[in-house]
């Protein structure tokens, strides 16, 4: 069970109605695995495990949790695990933080963490030790893999997966939080590393990490909320930085950040929802970055998750911190 992650071979025209084409999107996601006769399927193998997470979560949010075969999905996830406990994007690919986080999220969603014990390598402790091994003990930052790239995405990913596994105490949380604080800018936002400009994607990861650690008190909510709310442009969509084009996936990065600091009402949700719906391919299914753009499962997922934040009718509630169905995080995090 593995889904193609690249652009879809969508054939639809611009949607005229403002309904969410639930059935079309469900079919689009289900069919991603049957596109092995397209070069794109093979060229996006390095995103496969992320793709399964995006597709599966979108299906849950669309109220179709059983649309992908559970057993096959678990088998695929486990087939991506490497000796060191981490997961690669696909079988035989090197372990990396990004895919390890997706693996944990998928297993949590399928209530199959115990499969790590039964069939994985060394249970959830082994996965946690891979993640913990990527923390830089001096700065508190996290690397993506053994080759050392540092990015606040990895820090958030580590917190996300470890807290879901109940093993957050295997890393130095205070040091990591101090690192996040170093990434804060005077505009209230956060960058990819200390000194980098504020970027909505990195803001999501930093605020998410602070939320998981119970340290949202460190955020300057009004100032950050102001910066984030300025991401909404006249057509209703959100961009990631000043003067950039809007993109449906920022509905999530910006929207979830606003939700975490209780400022989601600072943007016009009706206009945002309308923008997202205009990005749909309502004939062939799937959602793209902008109206008329090629669809892909990444944008499909984050656009639907964005609609969920807006409490869009017919979409299940998403957890703004974890980007998983709320029912699932409620169950897991209370264990």
């Amino acid at each position: 069970m593995s889904l193609v992650s690249g652009p879809g071979r969508a054939v639809g025209t611009t949607p005229s109605s403002l309904n969410l084409s639930v059935e079309r999107h469900v079919e689009y996601i289900k069919n991603l695995d049957s596109r092995r006769d397209e070069l794109e399927y093979w060229l996006t193998e390095h995103l496969r495990l992320n793709g399964v997470y995006w597709g599966l979560t979108a299906l849950h949010l669309l109220g179709r949790p059983d649309a992908l075969p559970r057993e096959d999905t678990i088998n695929f996830v486990l087939s991506c695990q490497r000796e060191d406990g981490g997961f690669g994007a696909a079988p035989g690919h090197d372990a990396h933080m990004l895919y390890t986080v997706s693996a944990v999220q998928i297993l949590v969603t399928l209530d199959a963490i115990d499969e790590l014990e039964k069939r994985g390598l060394g249970g959830k402790e082994k996965v946690a030790s891979f993640i913990a091994g990527l923390q830089d003990k001096d700065t508190g930052a996290f690397m993506g893999d053994e080759w050392g790239e540092r990015d606040t995405r990895f820090l958030y990913g580590a917190f996300n997966a470890l807290s879901l596994l109940g093993l957050l105490d295997t890393v130095d949380v205070p040091k990591a939080i101090a690192y996040v604080q170093q990434c804060e800018n005077l505009d209230g936002g956060y960058g990819i590393q200390p000194g980098a400009e504020s970027h909505a994607g990195q803001i999501f990861t930093c605020v998410g990490a602070l939320a998981i650690a119970g340290r949202l008190d460190l955020v300057n909510r009004d100032r950050l909320g102001g910066w984030l709310s300025e991401r909404q442009v006249d057509n209703g969509g959100l961009n990631g930085r000043p003067e950039k084009l809007p993109d449906a996936c920022y509905s999530w990065w910006v929207g979830a950040s606003l939700a975490m600091i209780d400022r989601l009402h600072w943007i016009d949700s009706g206009k945002l929802a309308a923008f997202i719906l205009r990005c749909q391919d309502s004939e062939a299914g799937g959602i793209g970055d902008r109206p008329g753009s090629m669809v892909d499962v990444f944008h499909t997922h984050f656009a639907i998750a964005g609609l969920s934040l807006l409490k869009f009718d017919g979409v299940q509630e998403v957890d703004p911190v974890y980007c998983l169905p709320k029912t699932i995080t409620l169950k897991y995090l209370s264990r």
Binding site: L43, A196, E230
Partner: protein, 360 residues
């Protein structure tokens, strides 16, 4: 990562049977190449032939991160071979050639895929290897050339997020490699000029303004600037932004303005270019700022950023004074807020929250 800004296929682009067969053939070729690389790596064949296959594979798919890792393995073993053959100088020359050729390999890829994280990461690794394995002057040369390359990349896309981050990183490493204080100062000055040039080319470049904020602070620290010199710098920056704001509709400029206003905010002033102003000086600056911004309203009465800045400055003045909103300044804020509620309907709830916080 995913499709950004690619137009949706039209119905006519549906594949013909012939097109399908062609694609299947391409898939077969690609998978064969992938398999052959994997086989060679599994057998630890770290040879020029393997490197060639890896190059082919990465050229067809630069996002294939595992193959970049394979490339590192092959290069590492070539470095070891070079190090153990011949004199230190010969080894360094050989390693330099290997690194140089590999850097060249990634240039066309970077040009076609400027947003691909993995290519940038790989270059970073190569340059770090230069730092690790080569004498300092040789390593420095590589890093210096990298600064020129990133300059070129940023002139093609002046907002490339990776490009700016990468530039900061290259400059940091050059500082380490140069170590002598004088050179460090020189670098900050050169970078400051660079940021200035980029802003000059496009005033809306928020990335360049951000870089400028960081560089000014560094420049002042490195020069052990006096309070007087710091104030002079602040005055120059205020002057610059006021002139730039002859187009008051540009959001990037207002964010830079907001950054400068932090200088007058007692709770964050220590992170700014002039941390030691007295409260009286802060109030004086804020009053002049409010006058200056109010003048911008002339002919730009529909520009919401102006009202926002006026409110921010007034609130800051209240904060410095330790006074509660009241009297004339409060009624002005309420007037500006009324404008905002009309001019900025997308964020209406934000302004209503603010109104409530004023206790109206």
């Amino acid at each position: 990562m995913a499709a950004h800004g690619i137009p949706r296929y039209s119905l006519q682009a549906e594949r013909t049977e012939e097109g399908r067969q062609k694609e299947l053939h391409k898939i077969e070729k690609y998978r064969e190449l992938d398999q052959s690389v994997r086989d060679k790596i599994a057998k630890h064949q770290h040879t020029p032939e393997t490197l060639q296959k890896i190059s082919e594979l990465l050229t067809s798919n630069p996002e294939y991160y595992t193959v970049w890792n394979y490339r590192r393995q092959v290069l590492r073993s070539e470095f070891s071979a070079a190090a153990s053959a011949g004199s230190d100088e010969a080894a360094a020359a050989q390693i330099s050639t290997l690194i140089k050729n590999d850097l060249l390999f990634t240039v066309p890829l970077l040009r076609s895929f400027p947003k691909c994280y993995w290519i940038w990461n790989y270059r970073t690794w190569l340059l770090d290897e230069a730092k690790r394995l080569l004498p300092v002057p040789a390593a420095q040369k590589f890093w210096q050339e990298e600064l020129a390359l990133v300059g070129k990349m940023l002139s093609l896309d002046s907002r490339n997020f990776h490009g700016w981050g990468y530039r900061r990183f290259v400059v940091e490493t050059l500082r380490e490699l140069k170590s002598e204080e004088q050179d460090g100062k020189q670098m900050t000055q050169t970078e400051f000029e660079y940021a200035k040039k980029m802003i000059g080319a496009n005033l809306s470049n928020f990335s360049a303004w951000h870089y400028r904020t960081k560089l000014i602070q560094r420049l002042l620290t490195e020069n052990a600037a006096s309070d007087e010199e710091r104030r002079k710098m602040l005055d120059d920056e205020l002057d610059l932004i006021h002139r730039a704001l002859c187009d008051p509709y540009d959001q990037s400029l207002w964010f830079y303005h907001q950054n400068l206003m932090c200088t007058f905010d007692p709770s964050v002033a220590d992170q700014t270019l002039a941390p030691k102003l007295s409260d009286a000086e802060r109030l004086d600056y804020l009053r002049r700022e409010i006058d200056e911004i109010q003048e911008m309203l002339d002919g730009a009465e529909d520009c919401k950023y102006i009202y926002q800045a006026l409110i921010d400055c007034t609130m800051l003045a209240w904060k410095v004074e330790g006074s509660a909103p009241s009297g004339e300044s409060k009624s002005k804020v309420l007037d500006w807020l009324a404008e905002l509620k009309t001019l900025d309907p997308l964020r209406l709830q934000r302004w209503l929250d603010f109104e409530q916080s004023l206790g109206r």
